[in-house]
């Protein structure tokens, strides 16, 4: 490693590792790996840290994805129009076009790097399928290493570091398998830590607890579109596999066999919420289609194979698992084409960033998320490298302050009980009658309790810095839930995935994005109000 390493004693008295780099990438899913690769392409020194293992961790590695791709330029207009409609016109044409363009370039890169794409009828690689998530992410890890990036696995970031001018200049975290903390001083930081699925056990997502949102908000960054955070994925009731595409071929029935019509998620949830079971059988696929399906989403079939159940002929109970912002569209607000946040030195990519720019209020279904992850990764990586370079020789001579505030104070008074807190936040966000069927009364009551939970957390301690990981996850989930519901309360209409029982129609007066932020005091504002203020300051 070309960076200087030293063992030093930290404020908590535990020995730690200190590293210096130009670009620090937090998260090693598609967004983080594309970002790290792209920064390294610019000649920057790059360190990537992941909470889990870069290659298996995160939503893509476990789930696999279709990628947003329009092969025929003549089809583009229709595709963009359809997506705008679905997302409630909160997207931006320019961003949609550039994500499609960048994604096409990246898919060709993957083909060059050896991703074994299947072929279409002409023998050309069929690019929009990255369904073999483990294959894709193993390749990305290899590519990132080849580019000279240093990877620290099992090393979650806990908080960001700020210099005296308020620029983000690194992070603190722990290497949990080594039981030591780390400090990385960096010229710029990219948050690619994914979304927040509230430990609902939706496929591959238990590492995704909104950590990046919390860290960024502590540094002063804004979020956008947090009301669009209530996607629920269909899965067998007993299993974790929320792969939804094949349910297009399903018939859903209730206990007595009557058919659920229409077989959409909301109708299913209306039955589940009454504690009554819903069953599915994938009985509308022809034998030929069944055979094709078996070659694509292997993970879809795993739970059935292991129980000796044939999903094409036998019915099985289903459930809906919250995916939160993972297949939602809310996240950190990016302020320009480089995916910079409003805090200098801090960038956001993938699910850590809001995807409203390309899909408005509805990202689940279709495949803009995977496209966004790779495109935003590329742009943020290049920009972070440039930002770091511009700091010149002084890059590592700045005095740094940690930005973390909650659930990091070491002590043995009032230690956090994570299991209790996880349950408390899940009670507010998982139930369909709170988060899917939103009402003013339900949202307000939940938000009140979440605020109380936050105030309580603020005064709790953790036994030691390396035990803080779970406590910080709890804090991040509580913070995320508060931004979600505070924003949902401000959107008194139904748009995209935010369907409001009290205001079931789309209202043209709400044709704008909603920004949010704040920790002890949560705020929500129309985007225009915030950007006008920023404009005045310039």
């Amino acid at each position: 490693m070309s960076i200087h390493t030293a063992t030093k004693t930290t404020s908590t008295g535990e020995p730690g590792l200190t590293l210096e780099t130009e670009v620090l990438v937090i998260g090693g899913g598609p967004a983080g790996t594309w970002a790290a690769w792209s920064a390294a392409q610019q000649g920057a020194k790059v360190i990537l840290v992941d909470k889990g293992y870069c290659g298996t961790s995160g939503a893509t590695a476990a789930a696999g994805t279709t990628v947003w791709y329009v092969a025929d330029p003549d089809d583009r207009e229709a595709e963009l129009h359809q997506r705008e409609l679905k997302g409630g016109y909160l997207s931006d044409r320019g961003w949609m076009e550039r994500v499609l363009d960048q994604t096409r370039i990246n898919l060709h890169r993957l083909a060059d790097w050896g991703y074994p794409f299947s072929r279409d009828a002409t023998g050309a690689p069929y690019l929009p399928s990255l369904h073999q998530g483990p294959e894709y992410m193993r390749l990305m890890r290899k590519q990132v290493k080849k580019a000279g990036v240093t990877i620290l696995d099992h090393s979650p970031a806990l908080e960001l570091l700020l210099d005296s001018e308020g620029r983000v200049a690194g992070a603190n975290g722990v290497s949990r398998q080594l039981g030591r903390r780390w400090t990385i001083r960096a010229g710029a930081v990219i948050l690619a830590s994914g979304g927040c699925a509230f430990l609902s056990k939706t496929l591959g997502c238990n590492v995704l607890t909104g950590d990046g949102y919390l860290m960024a908000a502590e540094a002063g960054a804004h979020l956008s579109g947090m009301e669009f955070s209530n996607v629920y994925g269909l899965s067998p009731a007993f299993a974790t596999v929320t792969k939804g595409a094949y349910y297009r071929y399903a018939t859903f029935t209730t206990e007595d066999g009557s058919v659920v019509e229409p077989g959409d998620r909301r109708t299913i949830a209306r039955i589940l919420v009454k504690q009554q079971p819903v069953y599915a059988r994938i009985d509308k696929a022809s034998p030929e289609e069944q055979q094709w399906m078996r070659t694509i989403q292997h993970n879809f079939f795993l739970p059935f194979e292991r129980l000796g159940l044939d999903p094409f002929t036998q019915r099985f109970p289903v459930t809906l698992r919250l995916e939160g912002t993972v297949r939602g569209s809310g996240g950190l607000r990016v302020i320009d084409q480089t995916c910079a946040t409003s805090v200098p030195g801090l960038y956001a990519a993938g699910d850590a960033a809001s995807r409203e720019l390309i899909c408005g209020g509805a990202s689940g279904g279709g495949s803009p998320n995977a496209a966004w992850a790779s495109a935003s990764g590329c742009w943020s990586g290049a920009a972070a490298a440039t930002f770091a370079r511009q700091l010149g020789a002084g890059i590592h001579h700045r005095s740094l302050q940690p930005a973390g505030q909650t659930a990091l104070r070491v002590g043995n008074q009032n230690p956090i009980n994570p299991a209790e807190m996880i349950q408390a936040v899940q009670d507010e966000v998982l139930p369909y009658d709170r988060n899917l069927f939103r009402t003013e009364q339900g949202l307000s009551a939940s938000l009140e309790r979440l605020h109380t939970l936050w105030d309580y957390l603020r005064h709790q301690t953790v036994a030691s810095f390396d035990r803080a990981v779970q406590a910080r996850e709890v804090a991040a989930m509580v913070a995320t839930a508060r931004w979600m519901y505070a924003t949902a309360l401000e959107r008194k209409e139904s748009r995209g995935m935010h369907q409001h029982e009290d205001y079931p129609d789309l209202d043209d007066n709400y044709q704008y994005r909603l920004l949010s932020g704040g920790l002890d005091r949560v705020w929500v504002q129309p985007e225009q109000a915030v950007s006008n203020r920023e404009f005045v300051k310039l």
Binding site: P116, F117, S118, D120, P128, H131, N206, A239, W292
Partner: protein, 109 residues
């Protein structure tokens, strides 16, 4: 959830310890890793994919642990089945290459 590390198959390479995203395993010197934090398992099946000798078994249940019998799992071909489907391991063709995606997604070039 992860239910089995086969002592007879495991070669103690500790790959599963490294790749498990939620840090479920602990290494044991010169022996098979231990399932140290089973309740942290997110049932993603990825440890199985990396195990070079098909020594792991993840049951499909998200929230409950069940008894499994290694001999039955071996007999029914379930040990290492995901790895096989993915086409990982010597002499196998990657699943990506064998996909019928263009046909299924109705793609006309």
């Amino acid at each position: 959830m992860i239910e089995l590390v086969s002592e007879s198959r495991c070669i103690a390479c500790n790959l599963c310890v490294s790749v498990c995203p939620t840090n479920v395993f602990d290494p044991v010197p010169d022996a098979a890793p231990q399932i140290a934090r089973q309740s942290d398992c997110q049932t993603c099946y990825l440890c199985e994919v990396y195990c070079p000798v098909d020594a792991l078994f993840v049951a499909p249940y998200a929230d409950q642990s069940i008894e499994v019998d290694e001999a039955t799992l071996v007999q029914t071909g379930l040990m290492g089945s995901y790895r096989q489907h993915l086409g990982w391991g010597k002499g196998r063709t990657p699943a990506a290459q064998r996909e019928e995606s263009a046909k299924f997604f109705n793609y006309e070039p």
